[in-house]
């Protein structure tokens, strides 16, 4: 029998259905793997009791013949999702000891589908970061190694870095992520896994700790496109508790995976291929994959999204503005950390000074500033106009093409101690390919497409679709997966 942690979700569902193993066995295998790989720091909280209890109940349900879509599948939960009775901190000191009395819609849906939560995965504080370096609980290590420097501590990308590392290393079969400006797609690219950010409104935001409400979207992190289709189907859907969630039926995403791209028009945006700011190994993988898709019968179309260059500054105005307001509730009055002071104002200041990390403070200050009278008109409103322009350009592009193929990150995973990690402006550049479709609310899936011919690290490409065209992007991603020759088995830590 194959080692249980190496299975994909669809294989595991098969095995469970055939009674080859139980959910309890599957869960125990993953808990053991988590223990062996603690140096990755992928989990900030392991919940073996919750996991085993849910696995037990899952086996009972299966025995009764009432199996859900993810019945018995062990998953990691990004610490951004509020989980009833289980500590949730968004990896911020300010939420110290916060145990939500409610369950987020997404994690509830996953539980209802029969999945088994193994623990809470590490992330950038409040999902603000590209490298998982801002977590209060420390950095996450990417299980992959740079072949030119195998001892180098590589970051997994962020903000869903813990989820990405856990999925890549077999510490869960899948994990939840969240994507505001690339937080699923960048770590998916860096860790060689499939990361899908569906259309804004596809999954409920209820119970998800907010970063930037108009951009935040829940998504999936798995090792295969098929697993993404299965998991997304369980997570998505209308939620009356989230006014921005879309009241649309959820299609059977697995059915969309025909592997056939014949006749599909695939756009290659020229603005995503700048002279500077895109490494040659990434460009090479991108070009090669476009050729393969063409060979498979797709039509490659050169397109232009002229406002792409303004997407990054636009994102870094809108997201902090919303964050500055969303994070105002962390004031020490009702939950989480409180650092006393002589007056109410002093208590606020002390609590927030100690509770928030540097990057979060930086974004709160920027966001606060640009909402002030004067800056609001020149920065915030202008950013909203550019956002509408970007949406318009995407809409125009989708009159000509079915999907857009682009890199997810300009380079492969970098070192924790690289110079760039101390420069917030340089770190922002990693979001350059992911933020445009976040601003437009479009669905995008990042799928491993090859490895770097320089350092051997995985490189993902994103397939961006029009609103609610998740089926089309998954279909193309499935084709890429089958042509990429990339492994779908986890990179085991600590030996078998």
């Amino acid at each position: 029998m194959t080692d249980l942690v190496e299975l994909t979700i669809s294989e595991a569902l098969d095995g469970l259905a055939k009674k080859e193993f139980s959910s309890v066995e599957l869960t125990k295998a993953h808990l053991a793997e988590m223990e062996k790989a603690r140096d990755l720091n992928a989990y900030v909280l392991e919940t073996p009791e919750v996991a085993l209890e849910r696995a037990q109940r899952s086996d009972e349900r299966r025995a009764k013949g009432t199996a859900g879509k993810l019945e018995g599948i062990p998953v990691g939960m990004k610490d951004l999702y509020c989980t009833k009775g289980v500590r949730t901190t968004a990896c911020s000191h300010i939420l110290d000891g916060f145990i939500p009395p409610y369950e987020s819609t997404v994690s509830q849906k996953l539980e209802d589908a029969g999945s088994v939560m193994l623990g809470k995965t590490n992330m950038d504080e409040f999902a603000m970061g590209t490298a998982n370096l801002t977590s209060y609980y420390g950095a996450v290590r990417n299980p992959y190694k740079d072949k030119t420097n195998p001892d180098k501590f590589l970051i997994p990308g962020g903000s869903s870095g813990g989820s990405a590392a856990a999925v890549a290393a077999g510490l869960c079969m899948a994990a939840t992520g969240s994507d505001t400006g690339g937080s699923i797609r960048t770590p998916a690219s860096f860790c060689g896994i499939v990361g899908c950010k569906p259309t804004y409104g596809r999954c409920s935001r209820w119970g998800m700790v907010a970063f930037a409400s108009s951009l935040d979207q829940a998504g999936t992190m798995t090792r295969t496109v098929r697993d993404t289709a299965i998991m997304l189907g369980a997570m998505a859907g209308f939620d009356p508790k989230d006014s921005t969630s879309a009241n649309l039926p959820v299609p059977d995403y697995e059915k969309a995976l025909t592997g056939d791209v014949k006749g599909l028009k695939i756009g290659i945006p020229r603005e995503y291929n700048p002279d500077k700011g895109l490494n040659s190994d990434v460009r090479h993988v991108w070009e090669k994959m476009a050729d393969k898709l063409k060979a498979a019968g797709a039509e490659i179309v050169d397109i232009s999204l002229p406002s792409t260059q303004y997407a990054l500054p636009t994102y870094y105005l809108i997201a902090p503005a919303e964050a500055s307001s969303n994070l105002a509730r962390y004031d020490g009055v009702r939950f989480g950390l409180r650092v006393d002071g002589k007056s109410l104002d002093e208590m606020y200041t002390n609590t927030r000074t100690e509770g928030f990390g540097k990057e979060v403070k930086r974004r709160i200050m920027i966001g606060t500033c640009i909402l002030l009278e004067g800056y609001y008109e020149t920065c915030y409103l202008k950013a909203q106009k550019v956002r509408r322009l970007l949406c318009h350009e995407f809409a125009e592009a989708y009159k000509k093409v079915d999907v857009i193929l682009a890199p997810a990150a300009p380079e492969t995973a970098f070192g924790k101690d690289d110079d760039s990690t101390s420069d917030p402006l340089k770190m922002q550049l990693y979001d350059v390919f992911t933020v445009p479709c976040s601003l437009a609310g479009l669905p995008s899936v990042c799928v491993p497409a090859g490895t770097s011919d320089i350092n051997g690290l995985p490189i993902g490409l994103q397939v961006i679709g029009n609103s609610f065209q998740e089926e089309t992007i998954l279909r193309v991603a499935g084709a890429i997966e089958s042509m990429s020759g990339m492994p779908i088995r986890p990179l085991r830590m600590g030996g078998k």
Partner: protein, 484 residues
């Protein structure tokens, strides 16, 4: 007629705009399902949304939206099919999210007016700039513990309608009339109970002064005044203060002031320089509020008759003078009482009894019209008894008093107490004869030219009849007998 402050250097006109916060009557809060009952135990009506917990999201309560639309109709205003919620950001311990969800540049209601009646019979039209929906904050309690403050979030998230008038108000009297009219309208509609003492209706007043005909002066905002009388006092005081400042060569600073109802004066709270920048922006957790035509039409069709229409109808249908009609329609329940009492009876007389004797009694008993000991049908019937001569107006006073005390019908009271008016000529004639026979000296004086004694004879006879003699008949008979 206008309200003018006679200053040392000439005349000043006052300019006032009012911002009134009305707590919306609804079962649940504006963006959460938590209940809204007044006076519940602290922190028992709070959802995780109201308490600003992580990941919680607001969902609009359509009951509150409908109340705003109804009120919009009551204010003769434009119902905006699309409105947008925005966040007003500031830190305070009674504001769990660190922002209040309100509406900024796209309110649900705009451009309306209400007509107010003044004591001199004039009617003034006061413009309404807007009505928007927003959340109330919680309440801080500083008197529960020696070193700690407590927070009660029961009120946090309750829906408010902020109704902003145009600066059309020119006197304290107009401000009072505006508030009374506004309160009357929201009560008719049932969108707010209008109880200023419970805080379900609160008022901020923007006051400035100017020379008649000149542009507006700098205004001061007087925050949170909690009775109509205090609003009028605050405006009067503030206008005088501003005139004094200006006349002594000073300048008015734009600021927020507080009204001290004990001292009857306004005091500075903060100036514009130290004002908070609320960093308004559209709330990304909510989509624009779009009203569909069917809902607007349905609410329009369900609108009750409002004070102005009712007043017009009372004048036309019941022949009431405008002033009386205005008095009776001010409160929906009084108007309903009047109609119940006046239907098929002498409406004018019924109106007089309500505004006179009944109001006096209710006032004395501290009761509302709905608790009136006198049933409306009994009042109507009593007026009938007066008009058909069964009782005199004088006897009616007694009948009314008995109705207040015993709650019985006037017929029963007249019967039981034997209060029926004597209209039998021979009976009255006999009583007159007796009085004349018993007072020959007075008769002689009368005949000698002291005609004033006629009244004395009438009085004596009336007393002999225990007040039951028909006064007109009595008068006539006494005169006839004495002159014979």
């Amino acid at each position: 007629m206008s309200y003018i402050i006679k200053g040392e250097t000439g005349d000043w006109e006052i300019v006032v705009g009012l911002e009134v916060h009305c707590e919306v009557i609804s079962k649940a809060k504006l963006f959460s399902g938590a209940a809204t009952a007044f006076g519940a135990e602290a922190n028992t009506q709070v959802s995780f949304v109201d308490a600003g917990f992580p990941g919680m999201l607001p969902v609009i309560n359509h009951e509150c939206v409908e109340q705003a639309v109804r009120t919009g109709f009551g204010l003769n205003a434009t119902i905006n099919k699309k409105s947008i919620f925005a966040r007003k950001n500031y830190y305070y311990a009674d504001l769990p999210n660190g922002y209040q969800i309100s509406q900024s540049d796209h309110p649900i209601i705009s451009d309306g007016y209400i007509d107010v009646d003044l004591e001199n019979g004039e009617t003034r039209r006061i413009g309404i700039e807007r009505l928007h929906l927003e959340q109330d904050a919680g309440k801080l309690m500083h008197d529960q513990h020696p070193s700690k403050s407590f927070v009660d979030l029961n009120r946090a998230g309750v829906a408010l309608m902020e109704i902003v008038s145009r600066p059309d108000i020119r006197s304290p009297e107009e401000a009072g009339a505006y508030l009374r009219k506004l309160r009357s309208i929201v009560r008719y509609i049932g969108s707010c109970d209008g109880n200023m003492d419970e805080g379900s209706m609160r008022c901020d007043a923007n006051v400035s002064v100017r020379r008649p005909g000149e542009p507006y002066g700098t205004r001061a905002e007087i925050k949170n005044v909690n009775s109509i009388r205090f609003v009028m006092q605050a405006i009067e005081y503030e206008a005088m203060r501003q005139v004094e400042v200006l006349e002594s060569g000073g300048r008015i600073v734009q600021e927020t002031r507080k009204f001290d109802s004990v001292k009857g004066e306004t005091r500075s709270m903060r100036s514009k320089e130290t004002a908070v920048d609320y960093r308004y922006f559209y709330d990304p957790d909510l989509i624009p509020l779009v009203l569909d035509d069917a809902m607007i039409e349905r609410l329009k069709g369900e609108m009750p008759e409002l004070p102005d229409a009712k007043k017009k109808r009372f004048i036309e249908e019941y022949g009431l003078p405008a002033y009386d009609a205005g008095q009776l329609v001010a409160e929906k329940d009084i108007a309903a009482y009047f109609e119940a009492a006046a239907k098929g009876h002498d409406a004018k007389k019924v109106a007089n009894y309500i505004m006179g004797d009944l109001f006096a009694v209710l006032n004395k008993l501290g009761k509302s019209i709905n608790e009136s000991p006198v049933k409306p049908e009994n009042l109507g019937r009593m007026v009938d008894l007066i008009n058909d001569g069964t009782i005199s107006s004088r006897i009616a006073k007694d009948v009314f008093a008995f109705m207040v005390e015993e709650g019985k019908s006037p017929d029963q009271i007249v019967e039981e107490k034997g209060l029926k008016q004597v209209t039998d000529t021979s009976a009255i004639e006999k009583m007159v004869d007796d009085v004349i026979a018993a007072n020959p000296d007075k008769v002689a004086e009368y005949k000698g030219g002291k005609e004033k004694l006629l009244g004395w004879f009438v009085g004596q006879t009336m007393r002999a009849s225990q007040g039951k003699a028909n006064p007109a008949m009595l008068n006539e008979l006494v005169k006839k007998k004495l002159d014979a």
